[in-house]
């Protein structure tokens, strides 16, 4: 199989008749069969349906090849916190081991409408809480580049599926870096859209003021194609914005050469691996040589990102996860027959059903929201969050000679070893430092490979843009990927 297959090439291929949809779907399914027992990207594989759908699409192709969606026939992997009707959606939690989704998430309806082929559901840290996919209740996913290392998280299953050629594209969710960081650890492209660009209807809520669904793909262009398909206004998500993104498969037409690129000095601090630092500086140098204006900027509240995030997220998560009460969403097998009153049932179901990390975060959330601590923790964090958002507004301000995009590292280290940080939650939290700010401010951010490797492991950088400026950051990323790298 062509390891360099992209959505764009696939689209041309099926139109030219170089291959059929079934042939390609079959190759991906074979790769899953051969490799996934070792890598562990998937929780469920929809083999028969994927083949059936692909055959239907090949029939359609016989009749017409006009006006096909760019997602037509594209074999996609879906993070298991996104609902697909009639299918198990577990969020990698034991508490949802029996939950069958009763409806399609809006992103899934959109992919279905565009005739994508769903290959299956991918592993994640339980309820998307984690940065390594080691916190799944079901299995540990490995990095396809080095099987002793984590693929990152929480969308580690989706990232490793794409990097390991077990899907042509994937959906993930990003609350504090869960698309961009695993994309970085696996050396692929990931986009966290602007808050409001993509409907979250049917995404299991983690922290509602931060969550966004986004694509993981081999190239920037592919990420743009998937994003175009899933984005747009949705009446079922009241935070969804009325913005239309189109023509994202033609990024060459976007002129980026007049962009000023901001480099925030607060991202180049102690803790950032020296080799990553060098790779990011080299990347900046490439943009400079190509004629882009580079400007040092300051985002002074960056260093408070982790504290702020790990107060706000547990607070919202403790409320969002209150719905898992054992009375709906399947319930645990072990408790089905037991005779107990309502309160004992809640306690037992949630005690047995939640893993260590969700439990820790729910307790933390209960703490920061409880009487006596609310002002010192939760309210304080929300104030600092405003200051972080204002930092961004200031540097992006068009009236004050602001920059057009910000270029920064994604992670302080390359992919770490399995087990290295699992028992030290704070160490794990600190690895989110560079990705959290974009979620705090609701800004779009694209994670893509610099092209450099450290000991064979990839390094990604991120391009953060203004609100709803997805097209511009994708265009700049595409330009780097094709001409500057």
């Amino acid at each position: 199989m062509d390891k360099n297959l992209t959505i764009k090439k696939f689209h041309k291929g099926i139109i030219n008749g170089d291959f059929s949809v079934v042939e390609i779907t079959d190759e991906y399914l074979k790769n899953i069969e051969n490799k996934d027992s070792e890598i562990g990207s998937f929780l469920d594989v929809y083999k028969d349906e994927a083949i059936k759908k692909s055959k239907e699409l090949d029939e359609k192709l016989k009749n017409t090849k006009d006006n096909l969606s760019m997602m037509f026939g594209v074999p996609m992997a879906i993070k298991d916190n996104i609902l697909v009707e009639g299918k198990r959606s577990t969020s990698a939690s034991k508490i949802l081991e029996n939950y069958i989704s009763s409806y399609d998430a809006t992103v899934i309806s959109k992919l279905k409408k565009d005739e994508a082929v769903l290959l299956g559901k991918t592993n994640l840290d339980e309820f998307a809480m984690g940065a390594s996919t080691e916190q799944s209740a079901f299995k540990v996913t490995k990095n396809p580049i080095d099987h002793e290392r984590v693929p990152g998280g929480s969308s580690g299953g989706s990232a490793s599926a794409v990097a390991g050629n077990m899907a042509l594209g994937a959906l993930g969710s990003d609350t504090g870096g869960s698309i961009r960081q695993p994309a970085g650890f696996c050396g692929i492209v990931g986009l966290k859209p602007t808050y409001g660009s993509v409907s979250r209807y049917g995404l299991m809520a983690l922290a509602s003021s931060l969550d966004q669904i986004g694509p993981l793909a081999k190239t920037v262009e592919d990420a743009g194609i998937i994003f175009e398909s899933i984005s747009g206004k949705d009446n079922f998500d009241s935070t969804s914005a009325d913005t239309i993104f189109d023509d994202l498969n033609n990024l060459d037409s976007v002129e980026t050469k007049d962009f000023t690129i901001g480099v925030p000095k607060e991202y180049f601090v102690e803790g950032l691996d020296k080799k990553i630092e060098k790779s990011i500086y080299d990347t900046i140098e490439k943009f400079k040589k190509a004629g882009y204006k580079i400007k040092e900027i300051s985002l002074p509240h960056t260093k408070y990102a982790v504290s702020c995030y790990y107060i706000i997220l547990p607070a919202e998560a403790s409320a969002n996860l209150a719905r898992y009460d054992g009375l709906r969403y399947g319930g645990l097998d072990s408790l089905r027959e037991g005779k107990m009153n309502l309160l004992s049932r809640y306690l037992k179901e949630r005690g047995d059903g939640f893993g260590d990390e969700p439990t820790r975060r729910i307790l933390l959330g209960a703490f920061v929201l409880s009487s006596g601590y609310y002002d010192a923790y939760y309210s304080k964090a929300q104030k600092v969050r405003r200051l972080m958002m204002e930092d961004f507004s200031m540097v992006f301000d068009k009236n004050k000679d602001g920059v057009d995009v910000i270029l920064a590292p994604v992670t302080p280290t390359t992919a770490f070893k399995i087990g290295e940080k699992k028992d030290d939650p704070l160490a794990m939290y600190l690895s989110d430092i560079f990705t959290i700010p974009a979620n705090m401010a609701g800004l779009p951010a694209l994670s893509l490979p610099t092209g450099d490797l450290v000991n064979g492991l990839p390094i990604n950088f991120q391009i953060i843009g203004r609100y709803f400026d997805e097209k511009n950051i994708l265009a700049l990323g595409h330009c780097y990927e094709n001409r500057l790298k």
Binding site: E85, S238, R350, L363
Partner: protein, 103 residues
């Protein structure tokens, strides 16, 4: 901020999660939570007088759709209802059966 046994049990109760009983796991949980809360101390140094807390994820306002009846075909209605009811672990005559609140 030190998390002691009483506070830990209080947080479990607030969270409607059965308290951890394993002494080793309790110690680790207390230690981890205390360490995380200590880390949050760095926020104390940020000047936030007159800064309003930011609660939402964007500057945009919530947009609500009209609360009106959808015109669904009867079989569609039935499917949606059945999909939901199927997920109830204990059900009776197509309804959710809940455990008694009082013994």
């Amino acid at each position: 901020m030190e998390i002691n046994d009483d506070l830990l049990d209080h947080l479990f109760a607030l969270s409607r999660i059965e308290s951890e009983k394993d002494p080793k796991k309790r110690e680790k949980l207390k230690k981890d939570l205390s360490k995380i809360l200590d880390y949050f101390k760095d926020l104390e140094s940020v000047e936030t007088t007159n800064v309003k807390p930011l609660f939402g994820g964007s500057f945009l306002d919530n947009v609500y759709r009209k609360d009106e009846k959808q015109n669904l075909a009867p079989e569609e209605k039935k499917r949606i209802r059945e999909n939901c009811v199927d997920d109830f672990p204990v059900k009776e005559h197509g309804y959710l059966r809940v455990p008694p609140i009082f013994e």
